[in-house]
Amino acid sequence: MLFLTGLCTLLILSVLCFILSYIVVHGLPGLHLNFFTQLPKPVGESGGGMAHAVVGTLKLLGLTGLIGIPLGLIGGLYLSEYGQKNLIGFMVRYASDLLNALPSIVVGIFAYILIVLPMGHFSALSGGVALAFILIPITIRNTEEVLKLVPASIREAALALGVPEWKMICFVVVPTAGRGIMTGVLLGLARVAGETAPLLFTAFGNMYWNQTILEPVASLPVMIYTYAISPYEEWHQLAWTAALVLLLLILGINFVSRLLLQWQFKK
């Protein structure tokens, strides 16, 4: 029986290695500079890239961060500073847990009802809002955990010097936990960067550059989806390359955030 558990471990690790190496092997041949500088070519013409989708994904992440990070940070701050054991704290904690567990496509429907329906068309803004709803609960819970780790002695030292409570929180507690908070935000963004389902009917997709945030915008995950289910060989190649780029982006963010955390603990 003990041998079997080792076998399970080996099986899972080999599946992981297979997936990663398969993406690298199939994505690498298409990884030219063109991928980052050109728009998609019409079917039948070779070449072309996904410059607009790379920029679109970054744009969406920016929008998501702009909406989601402040809300998440302040929510987490409330939970750790004021809402440890009261009813409102419980409600906020429960709501964010629930949001976290919701299927992302349901969040997409919510963003659709909230923004696409009144505006009458798909837009980058609605995509950003949908992703922000996924980012908020992740940020809240992480911020709360990290802020709780700040020792009481630091808070008391600040208060003893006659600093008002809000200054104590903003200029003593939050900076102390700064790197941990950053790590959480980055991990949340990494998770959000790969979300596809809520974007299908909010940010929608676009074959060209988009000008304002009120237009539909292309993103890497949605491009991977549309190209993967298309019947064209060249598009499949582009989908693999896009998958490799997206994976590198996500793993890169993960790596940087872990590095930040290590750095904090060493200090």
Binding site: M1, L2, L4, T5, C8, T9, I12, L13, L16, H26, I74, G75, Y78, Y82, G83, I88, M91, V92, A95, S96, D97, L98, L99, A101, L102, P103, I105, V106, V107, I109, F110, Y112, I113, F122, F133, P164, E165, W166, I169, R191, A193, G194, E195, T196, A197, L200, F201, F204, P221, I224, Y225, A228, I229, A239, W240, A243, L246, L247, I250, N254
Partner: protein, 301 residues
Amino acid sequence: MDWLFRKGVLLVALSIVGLTLLLAWELFLHSRLPIEKFGWSFLWKTTWDPVGEVFGALPFLYGTLVTSFLALLIAVPVGLGMAIFLSELVSPWVANPISLLVELLAAIPSVIYGLIGIFVLVPLMRNSGEPFLKQMLGFLPFFQGTPYGVGMLTAGILLAIMILPFIISVSREILLSVPNTQREAILSLGATRWEMIRIAVIPYARSGIFGSVFLALARALGETMAVTMVIGNRPDIKLSLFEPSYSMTAIIANEFSEATSDLYIQSLIEIGLILFGVTILIHALARILVYRVTSKVEGRT
């Protein structure tokens, strides 16, 4: 100033609760048409006819339930095996890097799993996996019919790979929280390693392990892209696992941006509402179970 700060932070925190309530309310509000027209029969009607405006969600419920159940059937034993291996058999400096790798598995976006599914898993299942199963277990009704490659079995396998990291990391944590006195006591009675795990560790962590399974189930039910890409997208209810099917998330992903009439789009939103309700239920159950174990441990130390 303190007062202002406090109220400001409180306001933002409450707005998050408000948004969650708004989400539930808007979903309900925007699925009123089919709720009024079809009532409960929405849940057991099997026709999905956008032209004739008759909608029933049973095929999608069936597809979602079967694929999620299959995923659990595959992922739970394997995941538990790995969790036991990592927590009981190897030292932390081997286990920690390995569980970091497993977290990597969780970081891969679902659309990339779908890509792997379409181009690797589906051909593999069509050419060797399903014909093999048909030969060996063909007498069972689950393994009959044409091996298309796309279908419930393939979706279940892909889902299993995707939920493994959740089962492994939560179960490992639960197993690590089992107090050492529990292990030492049974070892001193002459039990072997395996007997120790079977008699003293697993029963102690049982409800927490169930909790991790429920968390994984919630993930599997809500998983969209990978399932959409390999399930075959045909609203049929068939017993054979080789048959293409459809899931609740897949129908929303495929038809939402193309739905024309109000009733059509609101029926899709009602499917979203059902997903929402099911997720709340499972999530609450999982929370209670995980909480029971961890509070038990905290109570003892």
